[in-house]
Symmetry: D2
Subunit: 342 residues, 4 copies
């Protein structure tokens, strides 16, 4: 942290500010500019983060030097984290596909979707049993019944299961059924939930909040890692901007930024990220080219009857076309000398 | 809902779209433009919201006509809701002040703050016992101990208590101590929590999510109202924008927008809304002039030692000055012929 | 500027960075942290701003310490600037009102509007002769003819004239007719235009760009001041956010922020700021309470036939009501001990 | 346009609204819902756009059905526009590369950059002679001298030239030297400039404004097309969001959205789009995979001494690596069955 003092601050005040910081066990260093003094603060960054120096007399502003997440950082673990989910490796250079409907609507719908996902070459079946919805009057999910259908679909197809957990009281039951627990965008800063999934003994996929900075997102991941669970995937799913044509603005630069800042694998969800099925294929391709470790794609046996998020779901024909395209591109990316993450 | 068909769509496809909607028990009406057909959809708006018509062949786009919240709307209840909290009325034309520290840090700090709040003329003492924090390494609150200090402070000062509840498992304990339950910005779409506070038997103050539209905010309120709890206050606390000088951008136009769209009382938090204590007074004044029913203000006996949010907290001297100014303005607003909400 | 070096940077690299900065005639100071080195850079801030240190080997990031505008800053001129426009003083504690239609549509429309503005107590008549419009097919203004109508209206009513200049080629002609030149939001960073109005010999009102930070806005003002024209007014007119209910989000915290950062007078435009005439009165009141020096309000003799921006224009009856309310509030604010800008 | 009437509006008012619209020569159609009336408006969309129906009594809101740009739309011209610049075809399936420094700084710097661009396989040399800068104290460009260096560099290397024109007074001189005129983000809605470049007899590359929606951008292009100049390229260069890690948020979904809405070629600028040279390669790859027709890349012989935008410029070694990677990917994309725009 660097403290910028107001122009013309007297020596006395500067000493008081430095004294206050040193009293907290940190070191200071004074830099004299042209009528402007800077104080560098040195020491444990978690402790620095708690100091309310902005309100001390004479302080004009405070510049943070480092982020306070640690376990999620590339410095902490220089090599990429590879998560092994029953033999499927995420983060190790192979593109992983998670596909399926937004919501589990019925046994038939799910099984049909699962067959299409498997035939298309996906490794994971996605599908919400617990659905967070903006309006209380929208379809809210089949809950435990949905989890059971997911488990049955796994039996039938061999696909792994990823599904969302929406509150602390259902972490245990979801962890009983799912291979990966998903924390949704609206819950990215539901810290009790983050702690709970950190103790659930399952890998966790943490979606980015619609207004979360990359730094806040990594801090949220830190809550999970801090409970001892290092199997965390980050999922970019679009941020909220002024643009109205797309439901969200998919921030693909976050993929490569995360690769530089963190060791955790990064998944991209072009379905929620755009809200338009016609944009899913080009954005899936772009995500692969940007270095994503996997894709989460909404697919529905019949989008026109979907109970939620129909407009962004691929139908089976389009799904197969996207799968073929992204697998081809992923193979090309690996074979090229100039791979993105080289 | 109005459905815009693509140019040149054939009659067959149009009929299929209309048939699909009518099969759901809704009515349709066809409007013929210049080579462009529109289909009006008529019926229950909650049912309309669930139709995935965007993915039907021939559909170009869908224009929603009405929002799907109902209990929170001004149409549902034309007169303003007045909430009576042990004799303090919120929403009835008197300005209500909620003041206190961001976090309950100690018995002494809280009691000192409570005395200042009471002497300044506040009706409510605020203070977080459970603190949601971006970083897991920041101070997280005194939890139950903090609630007990709050209850003691109520005994001593006669102030009512408002404090945040951060997850479903602590709703009961917080409801035991607090007069109003606060749901924070990060939890605005934590739907399980909304349902839980809807059944807790206490008034609820719902803060706006940092990236929530007014419509999403009213839908979130609808979750609470839908559980039978009609005592809901809305608190504007700034939204996230590109501007970096302020911590958030306080959206005061939301105050008057809410007054027109809803019957629920509106509180403004200029402390979080700006993140700078020097902006608290002008924004508090502006909020009163815009028609707010109350203010939530961070005040700390000694901001320079605060464990969280020091830079936006008023010290006791500034707090008294703000209180005097806003009370004077509120009295003027009531006396003037041309009151804002007339 | 403070330079944060990467962890583990070698002494050699640090010396090279410092050498490069010193070669530009600036001073450096080294601060040693825990495995992390900071370099403070001291000297002329305009020169510092041009240094591309981010790309030097070993540099992790650069923290700017001060903004590079100077003439617009409060440090440069500690007292508020008061602009005298033919006897009407702006910035001296009296609320100034600029009212009129979005566009000059005809002689009759303008004269009718001028009479209503004068009778309501405005000091300035606004009205666009040159209209920048999103679509090339929308009404683009009467141009020189419109300027002549404005001058005639000034003769008839005694009101001063403020009107927009949209490009360098029409600065002279607009300056011939107008008392204040307005630079619109879309042109806030049209630097040639800023320089041209800086030499036009007229006060200039600079509207905030829809995505401009306060810092960028003050830098844009600096272009005008730098040409020797110190009579600059800043006009907050809403920024672009994700909220869709209002056309823009009126950022009233910018009013008090500008009062602290700069000496220039601040005008608020609640009409463009909200895009809804029903929100104009509450936001005009809020602006006055926040300390604005003036208001720019769209009013039309008959909004339902306006050729542009009808939905946000007040009709004559509502205009009179708003005028009465804001004048009353301004008088109260001056009389109260606790004035906002005291 | 569809007009939503307020609940309970009387027949009289509805007739008045319809009468007003029909008086403008448009047709109306009434749709009766449950206590809610909708009026469909049919006719010329440019005329519809000028109607101020929101302010008519009884009108609740207005839903636009179609955008009012026409010449830029895919409906107007179903096949992609291919622009031939002295034999280099843009939009015809080949990836075009525009590379060079942000600003022309000197003859030597530019010639060195030009040689690197040519050797790397670029078709265009970019470089600003007129530089719009946030601060009046930053380097503003070599102006006409810079144009002459660009022309010399073209002679030497055979590269085509693209350079920015910042105001109407310099359109002619820039058009004399450049092969493509660039309109920068800050000038996207400088309508006089758009008209001027529409008459300049050169292809124009229109960069997206930092807060411009896709619709506004296409409307801006419409200004140029409307002057008879159909050789317009659109350049995505990032939008302003709350994210601070990147300078802007590169919106790659806009690439495919534009391909669906318009026939104009789309270029992507990953340098300004991210503001970090380490993100240029992954975002360039992603842009190609998303279907971009070309890339604009900042490259500097020695970024550490660049007078502007150093941190986002590639050095010669990285530039060659990026060129090799994107050319390889472009070749793969063409060869694959599953091309993005198929």
């Amino acid at each position: 942290m660097v403290i910028v003092m107001k122009p013309g601050t007297e020596e006395d005040q500067v000493r008081r500010v430095m004294g206050r910081i040193e009293a907290a066990g940190l070191k200071t260093a004074l830099v004299q500019g042209q009528g402007r003094l800077l104080i560098g603060v040195i020491g444990d960054k978690q402790m620095i983060a708690t100091l309310p120096v902005e309100v001390l007399d004479g302080v004009e502003k405070v510049l943070p030097v480092t982020d306070s997440y640690k376990l999620a950082s590339r410095q902490f673990r220089p090599d990429p984290t590879v998560i092994d989910v029953g033999g499927v490796k995420i983060g190790g250079g192979q593109l992983v596909i998670m596909a399926g409907p937004c919501a589990v609507e019925s046994r038939e719908q799910l099984f049909e979707a699962a067959a299409i996902a498997r035939d298309g070459g996906a490794e994971f079946l996605r599908g919400g049993a617990y659905k967070p919805r903006t309006s209380p009057y929208s379809f809210q999910g089949l809950e435990r019944q949905g989890l059971e259908y997911l488990a049955e679909a796994r039996e039938l197809t061999g696909l792994k299961i990823i599904t969302e957990v929406t509150d602390v009281t259902s972490v245990d039951v979801v962890a009983e059924y799912a291979d990966i627990l998903q924390v949704g965008a609206r819950n990215m800063q539901n810290f009790q939930l983050l702690r709970a999934v950190g103790r659930a003994g399952r890998p966790v996929m943490l979606k980015r909040g619609i207004a979360a900075t990359i730094s806040e997102w990594l801090h949220a991941a830190e809550y999970i890692l801090n409970e001892g669970n290092y199997e965390v995937l980050l999922c970019e799913r679009g941020i909220r901007t002024f643009e109205e044509y797309t439901r969200n603005t998919l921030d693909l630069s976050a993929v490569s930024a995360l690769k530089q800042l963190s060791h955790l694998p990064v998944i991209v969800d072009p379905s929620h990220g755009t809200g338009r099925w016609r944009l899913v294929k080009p954005m899936a391709m772009a995500a692969v080219a940007a270095g994503a470790d996997g894709l989460m794609i909404e697919m529905h046996p019949n989008p026109a009857v979907a109970l939620s998020d129909g407009p962004q779901s691929l139908d089976p024909v389009n799904f197969r076309e996207v799968m073929k395209a992204v697998r081809g591109l992923a193979a090309y990316m690996r074979s090229a000398d100039d791979v993105v993450n080289a």
